[in-house]
Symmetry: C2
Subunit: 139 residues, 2 copies
């Protein structure tokens, strides 16, 4: 469990339960806002996922998203592509309009900094079957 | 020296000596690029400063800079303001047009993620006198 404690006690706070976005997630996530400033075009937050937790498929319109992985083990998948296994230090750039999801692996907590521009469109949840396939394909 | 080892062995690589920007720094810095993508309007890098190292006064025009402190102890100062002492987990937002500098304290290594938009204008170095005053005022 050492890795899980590392995620929960990282450099940036884990923050409270992510109630505001809970309807767009499967499982429990936590969100600590880091930057929400009308004078800059990106928001920054620290997102933490319990094992098995992932967000729904979504798209950033007129924007982008950058993930900086800070702890644990996670998955990232773009529509039609195999999933990527993510570990601390990994970086993901999601381009404007690309349908994708991210989250923890089934047995590990996971945390990333998210740097986000534009307007998100939230889509369907990642089914248990597709989630299991993603993890299988990424390892 | 435990803290210094922590900075040098952080989540994101320290990268090579920052030769490209050496003329805009006093002392030795290191730079690991993380995102340089023409499809997004920000660049992201991990910057590490040896003890006493700081960058010159500079301005981000038509943009901004966000610092996410990842290790050690550092300083941030905007023109005309007292310096801030920075520790892991701290966040700094520099607005468009604001003259500022950042760097390590004199006895500690320091690292931060920099998320940068716009065009930098590099100005004069932070003199030894002003650097000492900044650190004194921040503690």
């Amino acid at each position: 469990m050492a890795k899980n404690e590392t995620v929960k006690n990282g450099i940036f706070p884990m923050g409270p339960k992510n109630d505001a976005y809970a309807k767009f997630f499967t499982g429990q996530s936590y969100l600590q806002g880091l930057v929400a400033d009308p004078a800059v075009n990106v928001g920054v937050g620290n997102v933490t996922f319990e094992p098995g937790c992932r967000n729904n498929w979504h798209i950033h319109h007129d924007g982008f998203q950058i993930l900086l992985v800070t702890g644990g083990e996670g998955l990232y998948q773009e529509d039609g592509q195999p999933a990527r296994l993510l570990k601390p230090g990994d970086v993901v750039v999601t381009h404007d309009g690309v349908k994708h999801w991210h989250g923890a692996t089934k047995d590990s907590w996971f945390s990333h900094i998210a740097i986000t521009a534009g307007t998100p469109e939230w889509l369907e949840a990642v089914s248990d079957t597709d989630y299991a396939k993603a993890e299988e394909g990424a390892k």
